[in-house]
């Protein structure tokens, strides 16, 4: 698992071993390169019977169902479902705002933990894992591969991810939707601090490309509660202008704006059939992941 024995701060072996008990499923048929545990849109050689099909010349005679021929004097070919592995793409938001954390842990660190664990779990069940670090553009990107050495590279990228620059999630997601081959599992780890309307287009684009998209919406408790006693000068972590505000005065409006935003995001996620998880980063990431995995287990089954 760790060929170089280099301990990663965002990985906890105990948590990983516990999580490994639950498989990571895709919600829709995936297209992988090898056989795996995920349904494929194609017919293949699994034990699961799919359908009979009329024999056409050129079909492998070994797949001809002789018993059916004996009964009906017609040639039928017996087809089975294909099982495949999946390509999991982690999309880590590395914009400046991800460096915020009021509870001792930053959002980027939280994203590292989630991403690391998911990458490990995927690879454990033979799926390919790739990663894209995005901010105002795609900072780093490696395509999904399924060899264990590749995981080290993923971990390295996670470790080196540095939150800077502003969030330009929408163009980046459009680009990823186009560049990632169809039918992949895309997991977005971001605070989604962009206009919800811009995201709607991205998600629909991803859906159109038949990707299974999951989003972890990372929010800091302080961003939600906005409890400050004194007047504050808010310096934009993404390089925008600083704002001076009297929290008592502005809190009401802040909460209103926040509520509107969250409601809108939720609506868009539902409309786009996203696997959406709002996460406050003071929560144990193991629980979050467990909920994620279990939820997917329930939702599994589509082909």
């Amino acid at each position: 698992m760790f060929p170089d024995r280099h301990a990663r701060s965002f990985l906890d072996a105990a948590v990983l071993s516990r999580l490994a008990a639950v498989p990571l499923f895709a919600r829709m048929p995936m297209v992988g390169s090898v056989s795996g545990r995920h349904p494929s849109p194609y017919r293949g050689s699994s034990v699961e019977f799919a359908e009979y099909r009329k024999y056409v010349p050129g079909d492998d005679l070994r797949r001809l169902d002789w018993r059916a021929y004996g009964r009906s004097d017609r040639f039928y070919v017996k087809e089975f479902e294909a099982d495949t592995n999946l390509r999991c793409c982690l999309v880590i938001d590395t914009s400046g705002s991800m460096n915020f954390g009021s509870t001792g842990i930053t959002k980027i660190e939280y994203a590292r933990r989630l991403g690391g664990a998911l990458g490990y779990l995927a690879l454990l069940q033979g799926d390919a894992i790739g990663i894209s670090c995005v901010a105002d553009g795609i900072a780093r990107k490696i395509p999904p591969r399924r060899n264990p050495a590749h995981l080290t590279t993923v971990f390295d990228i996670l470790e080196q991810a540095k939150p800077q620059n502003e969030t330009q999630l929408a163009p980046v997601l459009h680009e990823l939707a186009e560049t990632i081959r169809q039918r992949a599992l895309i997991i977005i780890l971001s605070d989604l601090f962009v206009e919800p309307e811009l995201l709607r287009g991205c998600f629909q684009h991803l859906r159109f490309r038949k990707h299974d998209v999951a989003a972890f919406h990372l929010l800091d408790p302080q961003e939600l509660s906005f409890t400050f006693r004194r007047p504050m000068r808010f310096i934009d972590m993404e390089g925008g202008p600083a704002v001076f505000a009297e929290p008592n005065e502005i809190a009401d409006r802040y909460h209103k704006v926040l509520e509107d935003y969250l409601a809108q995001i939720k609506q868009i996620m539902l409309e786009s059939a996203m696997d959406y998880h709002r996460v406050t980063i003071d929560e144990d990431y193991e629980k979050v992941l467990m909920r994620f995995l279990v939820g997917r287990t329930r939702a599994k089954g589509g082909r």
Partner: protein, 678 residues
């Protein structure tokens, strides 16, 4: 708004405390690196209407609360006395109290008079304000008296009502003199008056001087006027205009003429314009009554006869009407006596002038009055019985030496003297007036102007003018000197009849003689007769043993020797000359009554009042007789209540909105667990 502890108002800048705290708080800001800027910016963009308003309101109410507290401890006074005492306790407070009869008018519902209400209000207000020294100038003596405390206003005789008119300029002069003599510090002058025109003498030239002299005080003098200008609802004043005792062969009668004046005059069409006034006559204690139907502003009763005993030659009486809005003008005292023989002496160079004068002086208009006139020469002057003389007619060079002294003494005790020009006017002046050369006119000239309202040429009692205009003047002597009052003048304003300025008595200078070559005074003799008879009557009035006096006039004898026969019981002996009543002084019977001007209800107009105090620190408040509300009140409770209200409202505004269930909303929640494409 004024304050009893104005020094505490220095704490008013503390009102800015919430703002300062707010600013300090803003300076104590913390800096934070913040990710969710999009919400902050959006919140900033949102309409801030109510939120911003709420912040301002909270701030305003906090400031209001502090202001309320400061105002409350500064002990505010609610009153109309704007700018009452911004500088705290004054050094000297001078009270000018108008005690004139008009101040005894009661309010609409009866009860207290203006004077009583004013005194009480003053005591209440002044006690609250405090002062190092208290001075009272009352309207009778016009002298400044130091009093111990404002309470003295209530129990001192100097605060009781009087019958004499007030002279506000003289009172102010007394106040001015007091300030000057005592070098008092910051002074407040409180005037309590009903603003009657006759008391204030708004036209008097003294105001200008007073204003200037008050402005000269460096310490600052502040004037407060407590005014009671309301007119009476229904008031009738009674006044005796004439009392005569006539004796016939078998009986004696008293003829009383009186005048009733009514204010305010109602419209003659209104139902209650007609009133009946029962007038009660009291002669030496015996009473009779007469009901008078009155319709209009004035009613005059001429020669109401009251029979007397033949032996009853001298006595006193009183007329009264029932109580109305003003009690002080419901009674009038009079005294009567057998008429005094009226003696005139004539000293004339020109017999042609002497004869008409002698005739005019010797013929009595009334059979009961005995007139006598005697022509004498200057040598006989020493032998004249001056004490029985009423009138001196002098057509000779102006007296000098001992004659002058005799005549001066005669005029001083109230005698009347009429001087006519001698044939050859010489140098020298008498009573400040001298003769100049005769002026011969080419033709006879008429008298152009004369005073018909008073003095010798006044109109008759029925209002008809004397035929002065028909007189023809052929020549007249010029007059030198300045201290005289012209009573009649010919063309070009040349004086024909003047009155010299004297303290008592009367000294007249007629610039022509009744001689046929000089004027038509003798031929059209009415004017000469009236002139001489009026002078005789005035001279005789001081001779009798009875005297009608106007309250407030300087007494001829020491009032301490007076004995009260009837009158105001509250009056102390030194103040008898100021109180209505009948008094005995030696052998004389004196009746003291209010001045005629007191019956005129004219009130000084507001703009005139403003002019009188122009440039001075002056505040006025109008009060009403019988008003129960105190002039000034401490109203700190109001401010304390305002402070509490402000605090409660502030607390209400500060209350956070209803507790939110945001925690539940923000819980981590997965959505979209459905298998798409399944």
């Amino acid at each position: 708004m004024s304050f009893l502890a104005p020094m505490l108002l220095a704490g008013l800048p503390l009102v800015a405390l919430p703002i300062i705290i707010h600013l300090i708080n803003q300076r104590r800001f913390q800096t934070i690196r913040w990710g969710a800027m999009m919400f902050l910016l959006a919140a900033n963009r949102l309409s801030r209407g109510y939120a911003r308003l709420r912040q301002w309101l909270i701030m305003a109410f906090r400031m209001l609360a502090i202001a309320g507290l400061i105002f409350a401890i500064a002990r505010p006074l609610a009153s109309g006395w704007l700018g009452l005492s911004a500088g705290g306790r004054p050094d000297t407070t001078i009270v000018l109290l108008d005690r004139s009869p008009s101040m005894q008018q009661t309010g609409g519902s009866g009860g207290s008079t203006k004077l009583e209400t004013g005194r009480q209000q003053l005591v209440q207000a002044l006690k609250m304000l405090g002062s190092a020294r208290w001075v009272l100038v009352d309207s009778t003596t016009n002298k400044a008296i130091e009093i111990e405390s404002p309470d003295s206003l209530l129990n001192s005789p100097a605060g009781e009502p009087a019958s004499s008119a007030s002279d506000i300029p003289a009172m102010l002069q007394a106040a001015h003199d007091y300030i000057q003599a005592n070098k008092s510090g910051r002074t407040e002058i409180w005037i309590c008056s009903d603003l009657r025109e006759n008391d204030w003498n708004g036209e008097s030239g003294r105001w200008q001087t007073l204003r200037e002299s008050f402005l000269e005080f460096p310490q600052g003098v502040r004037f407060h006027l407590l005014a009671y200008p309301q007119a009476a609802l229904e008031n009738v004043a009674i006044r005796v205009t004439d009392v005569r005792r006539q004796q016939t062969s078998d009986a004696a009668e008293l003829f009383i003429s009186l005048k009733l004046s009514r204010a305010p005059v109602l419209d003659s069409n209104s139902s209650n314009s007609k009133i009946s006034v029962p007038v009660q006559f009291e002669i030496d204690g015996a009473r009779s009554e007469l009901t008078i139907e009155m319709d209009g502003a004035q009613f005059e009763l001429k020669d109401h006869r009251i029979p007397l005993e033949r032996s009853h030659e001298r006595g006193w009486g009183r007329v009264s009407i029932p109580a109305d809005a003003n009690m002080a003008d419901n009674e009038f005292c009079f005294v009567f006596d057998r008429p005094v023989p009226r003696v005139a002496i004539i000293l004339a160079d020109d017999p042609q002038a002497a004869r008409p004068l002698e005739l005019a002086a010797a013929i009595s208009p009334d059979p009961s009055v005995h007139d006598s006139a005697e022509v004498i020469s200057e040598e006989q002057l020493a032998a004249v019985e001056w004490e029985k003389l009423s009138l001196l007619l002098w057509q000779a060079p102006l007296p000098k030496g001992s004659s002058a002294n005799l005549i001066q003494a005669f005029v001083e005790r109230g005698g009347q003297a009429v001087f006519l020009p001698p044939a050859a006017p010489s140098e020298g002046e008498f009573f400040g007036v001298g003769w100049k050369a005769w002026v011969e006119e080419a033709e006879e000239i008429p008298v152009e102007n004369w005073r018909g309202d008073q003095e010798l040429l006044a109109n008759t009692q029925s209002g008809a003018a004397l035929p002065v205009g028909q007189l023809q003047i052929r020549r007249y002597a010029g007059l030198s000197g300045e201290s005289f009052t012209p009573l009649a003048s010919v063309r070009g304003g040349k004086p024909l009849l003047v009155r010299a300025t004297t303290a008592h008595g009367g000294a007249y200078f007629l610039a022509t003689t009744p001689a046929p070559g000089d004027s038509s005074l003798a031929t059209s003799g009415v004017v000469l007769y009236v002139l001489v008879q009026r002078a005789l009557a005035a001279g005789a009035a001081v001779l009798g043993n009875t005297r009608q006096l106007v309250a407030g006039a300087p007494p001829e004898s020491d009032p301490a020797t007076w004995q009260r026969v009837t009158g105001d019981e509250r009056a102390i002996s030194t103040e008898f000359p100021f109180h209505r009543g009948v008094y005995v002084s030696g052998e004389r019977l004196l009746a003291v009554n209010r001045p005629a001007a007191e019956d005129q209800a004219q009130v000084l107009a507001d703009h005139r009042l403003g002019e009188l105090f122009r440039g001075l620190d002056f505040a006025r408040v109008d009060d009403q007789a019988g008003s129960l509300s105190s002039l000034i009140q401490e109203v700190w409770r109001l401010f304390l209540a305002a402070m509490i209200v402000a605090l409660i409202v502030e607390a209400g505004l500060c209350l956070p909105k209803l507790a939110r269930t945001r925690e539940a909303t923000f819980k981590t929640e997965p959505v979209g667990f459905h298998a798409p494409g399944g």
